[in-house]
């Protein structure tokens, strides 16, 4: 009897999860309600625009997706330090948070663009959020600064195209002599330590900002392909 009950619960749960997976990809209802309840009508409007963007660009070629997405965030969001936007040194915001604040620093841009492209059916292995060392002109002097961009690899060994918030247009990596790439990741390889396995006891999940951001996204209603969402 107990076994039977257990089986029933198991089967039911499995069905729910599979059902959730099936409908999650194109269903942003949870995200919409999060936007409205947490941030209000303005944010909801922007989120709706963003959802429309995803739906529109999904069938388009990669190159077009990159342009639309890059422009969407570079236009809507203004670049500030985390300190200004979030009141703390380094905070990795989710796309919803970024869209609600309308402000963001380099990671927030890169994350939002990355997530949007993934949601628009861009293959994960083509994208890498990349730490770079950037030389930025401030007045008369040029300073080196840690920065983050999104790199798009049309082919595994090809030169990537860079989506940045300093230089607002997308350009090939070799054109960006001001950037020196240091470390690139996406939910693929790095997610071995972060994204895919939602295990709360995994120290990488608890500690990493990337993990925090991915987890928060899930709560807000953004469900990445291949993830189980409620």
């Amino acid at each position: 009897m107990k076994v039977f009950k257990f089986l029933l619960v198991f089967v039911f749960t499995t069905l729910m999860v599979i059902g959730g997976l099936a409908i999650s990809n194109n269903n942003f209802d949870v995200l919409r309600s999060s936007a409205r309840t947490l941030y209000g009508q303005n944010t909801l409007n922007l989120v709706n625009q963003w959802i429309n963007l995803i739906e529109e660009i999904s069938p388009l070629p990669d190159r077009d997706k990159l342009v639309y997405v890059n422009n969407f965030f570079n236009q809507k969001i203004s670049w500030v330090d985390d300190q200004e936007a979030w009141g703390q040194e380094d905070y990795w915001a989710t796309p919803l948070e970024t869209m609600a604040k309308l402000k963001g620093d380099c990671e927030d841009f890169s994350i939002s663009k990355y997530i949007t492209l993934i949601l628009a059916n861009m293959p994960n292995e083509k994208l890498r959020i990349t730490y770079v060392k950037a030389r930025i002109k401030k007045g008369n002097t040029t300073v080196s600064q840690a920065h983050m961009v999104l790199a798009y690899y049309p082919a595994p060994l090809a030169e990537p195209i860079i989506l940045d918030n300093i230089v607002k247009e997308i350009v090939r990596g070799s054109k960006r002599r001001d950037l020196k790439p240091v470390f690139g990741f996406n939910t693929g390889v790095v997610s071995a330590g972060a994204g895919t396995k939602a295990n709360s006891t995994n120290p990488a999940n608890r500690l990493s900002r990337w993990g925090d951001a991915l987890a928060k996204m899930k709560v807000e209603g953004i469900c990445l392909p291949g993830e189980a969402c409620s």
Partner: protein, 754 residues
């Protein structure tokens, strides 16, 4: 399985289950935790290498040689097990791995708790160009070893806990079970039909058991006592005079005959007769009811005399003749003094009466005599006291209140005088008093006891003036013809009666003088001392058989071998008694019996005396002797006279307990005269009782004794005791006692059948 073993098994099972459970849980959580740690370590290391290589490869071309330079050291150092770099086109750019040695953890442990940390993975790039994916794994054997060691430690802790819990449990169990030993020994005693009661233990469960067993023991005891009482009444009706409840002539004569036939110290002694002259005249003067009341009192008084002097037997032969048989069992001394106008002499027996203890035992302190100035005489302190004759015969002290106490050593016989003066009514009065010391079973002293006892009763009833109490006494030895003794006694009593005075006459048999002369004592003393030195005492073995003719044991009598002759026990034992050598002879007998057992393997019953069992050092000597004489002692039996066994029941019970520890049988001989006490035997733990010849002789013709023996045998069997008939001489007697259910017999009519 004992409770202790069960406790240990329970503790081991319980702790083993907890151990396995906690080992499993702790290993599982360690497994998970370690897996995560290794995974994190892998990823950290991969990330670190990626940062390093990305920087390096942005400056120079990262070929395989270059990758080797950077990736080999961590492997060689042993912190990393394997590293591979696979290009996006699935080419292997670099791959190396260390070979891990197996650790201490056994294979089954690794299979049970497998560690599957995820490899660290990271993309490395050369400038903007992807170079490939780096994956690395860490060595895992050390981690297994850690887990294994932890499990071992845990198991050790549990093993210690098991030992500790077991030890504490055993200790507590021991405390709880301690009363059980007592319960078991009581149950065993009940099994042996010793109906003892014990104190109830504090443990509730055992308390119930003990309470139940105590109830059982008490019931049985009550039942036995009732039976004994019935038996005693039966015996009394059969053998006693209705008015005085003293034995009748026939019974007294058979006892006396059996006594004379005895081949030991009790075969000699004193016989006294007292005639209540003119009993017919008393009846006319006072009437039957008053005289009967006096006679009942007289019976009580005489019986009291037999009670305080164990082994004595009293009888009313016919209307006016009373007899007292006093076998020489003891050698206490007694004091007598003549009365005076101003002084009351408190006789020794009345003093003894006041010091009879709860068990009915009388103290055997120094014989003493109290001389009390009569209360109606006004007197002050004694002026002077002195022994005027034989100063070595004792001493006199003034105890105040007009009371003089004269005391003497035991064993001294003779006569002395002491004189003293007291201030009476302002006048100094001088008096001298004659004091006689005599052995207690001396014919004269027995006669005096009997006479003074009866005189007291007559005085109480106011009949003393109306009658005389002529008394006679005689000394007898084993084998003396009964008829001749009675004739000699008769002559003396007739002579005494003719004088119409309450005189005491001592009769003598032919040449034999019963006077105890000091010279004779000294002679015997030297004979015995030589005999002890030269080991010339011998055993005279008499068969005791079962009803099927098989041997039960030999009863050991003592013989004394002199150069050319052999003395039978009866000839010299009275002298042994008088010379206080009984204890020494008893020990000699025990040693002789043990020698005989060792030499020939014969089962032997040794007769002990009351003196030896009451001697405090005997038990220790006996145990010591047994342990030095090897293990033949299970063939030894000990037996004691009935009168002595009941008189010193406490000492006898202790001796029986000691004997039981060594597997030695114990028993009572010449049983049957104190049937009222038979209930007291229920927890003593004897193995056999030998019923006196008195009840056995002519048993085939005596229906009364048949009933008595049948009941006594049933009673004996109910407390697990063998009943053996003594003095069997005819086939008819054997057939009858077999029919009555007795277990064995001894006597001239008995022979061993093989």
């Amino acid at each position: 399985m004992t409770l202790y073993k069960q406790l240990w098994v329970a503790i081991i099972i319980a702790l083993s289950m907890i151990f396995v459970g906690s080992l499993f849980v702790s290993s599982l959580s360690a497994q998970q935790y370690l897996e995560e740690q290794v995974t994190a370590h892998n990823q950290n290391y991969a990330n670190f290498l990626a940062l390093l290589l990305n920087d390096q490869c942005s400056q120079e071309v990262c070929d395989e040689a270059h990758l080797s330079t950077w990736l080999k050291p961590p492997i060689d150092q042993g912190y990393i097990l394997s590293i591979a770099v696979i290009s996006p086109l699935s080419e292997t750019l670099f791959s190396d791995n260390a070979i891990e040695k197996a650790g201490q953890a056994p294979a089954w442990f690794k299979r049970t708790f497998p560690l599957k940390p995820r490899p660290g993975g990271v993309n490395i790039q050369s400038g903007w160009t992807a170079l490939g994916e780096l994956t690395l794994t860490s060595p895992i054997e050390d981690v297994y070893d850690e887990m294994w060691e932890g499990s071992i430690n845990l198991s050790q802790v549990y093993f210690l806990a098991m030992l500790l819990a077991g030890s504490i449990g055993s200790y507590l169990l021991g405390r709880v079970l301690k009363p059980l030993d007592d319960v078991v020994s009581q149950a065993q005693a009940l099994g042996e039909r010793r109906f003892i009661t014990t104190a109830e233990p504090w443990t509730l469960d055992f308390k119930k058991v003990v309470s139940a067993m105590n109830t059982l023991a008490t019931r049985v005891k009550e039942m036995l006592e009732q039976e004994a009482e019935t038996l005693n009444e039966y015996r009394r009706d059969l053998h006693t005079d209705k008015v005085t409840r003293l034995l009748n002539r026939d019974q007294f004569m058979s006892i006396f005959r059996a006594t004379l036939a005895r081949d030991d110290a009790s075969g000699s002694g004193a016989l006294s007769i007292l005639r209540l002259s003119d009993l017919g005249g008393l009846n006319q003067t006072f009437g039957y009811p008053k005289v009967d009341a006096m006679l009942t009192d007289l019976g009580d008084a005489v019986r009291w005399l037999t009670n305080i002097n164990g082994g004595w037997t009293a009888a009313r032969l016919n209307g006016s003749d009373f007899m007292m048989l006093a076998p020489a069992l003891k050698q206490r001394s007694k004091l007598y003094a003549d009365a005076d106008d101003y002084f009351e002499i408190i006789p020794a027996n009345r003093i003894k009466q006041s010091i009879v203890d709860a068990q009915g035992n009388t103290s055997v302190a120094k014989p003493s005599l109290h001389i009390q100035v009569l209360p109606d005489v006004q007197s002050s302190a004694a002026e002077s006291i002195s022994l005027t004759q034989h100063p070595d015969m004792g001493e006199v002290v003034y105890a105040g209140q007009g009371l003089f106490i004269y005391s003497s050593e035991i064993g001294v016989e003779g006569e002395t005088k002491f004189s003293f003066s007291v201030n009476i009514d302002g006048e100094v009065v001088e008096r001298s008093i004659r004091v006689t010391m005599a052995s207690i079973n001396d014919p004269l002293s027995v006669a005096r006891d009997l006479q003074s006892q009866i005189r007291d009763v007559l005085k109480r009833h106011g009949m003393l003036e109306a009658t005389q109490l002529p008394t006679a006494a005689i000394y007898f030895n084993p084998g003396d013809p009964l008829g001749a003794l009675m004739t000699a006694l008769d002559q003396q009593i007739i002579a005494s009666e003719a004088e119409a005075l309450s005189h005491i006459k001592i009769a003598y048999m032919g040449d034999m003088t019963a006077e105890l002369s000091r010279e004779l004592m000294a002679d015997w003393k030297s004979v015995f001392e030589t005999a002890f030195e030269e080991n010339s005492f011998e055993l005279d073995l008499v068969e005791v058989t079962g009803m099927d003719g098989s041997l039960l044991h030999y009863e050991a009598n003592v013989r004394l071998r002199q150069a050319d002759s052999v003395f039978r026990g009866g000839e010299f034992l009275p002298w042994i008694t008088r010379l206080n050598m009984t204890e020494q002879l008893d020990r000699e007998m025990v040693l002789l019996a043990l020698d005989e057992i060792k030499a020939r393997g014969k089962p032997i019953a040794v007769k002990l005396s009351a003196e030896v069992i009451r001697e405090p050092a005997f038990a220790a000597w006996f145990e010591d002797t047994l342990s030095r004489r090897g293990n033949q002692h299970t063939l030894l039996s000990l037996q004691l006279l009935e009168s002595m066994a009941f008189r010193y029941l406490e000492s006898f019970t202790e001796l029986c307990a000691l004997a039981r520890r060594y597997g030695i049988q114990t028993g009572i001989e010449h049983m049957g005269h104190q049937m009222q006490d038979i209930g007291r035997l229920f927890d003593v733990g004897i193995n056999f009782m030998k019923i006196d010849d008195f009840f056995v002789t002519d048993i085939d013709k005596d229906v009364g004794n048949q009933n008595l023996l049948r009941t006594l045998t049933t009673l004996a069997h109910s407390i697990g005791v063998l009943a053996i008939a003594q003095g069997i001489s005819t086939k008819e007697e054997i057939a009858m006692i077999e029919k009555l259910g007795l277990d064995g017999a001894s006597g001239p009519g008995i022979s061993i059948k093989n």
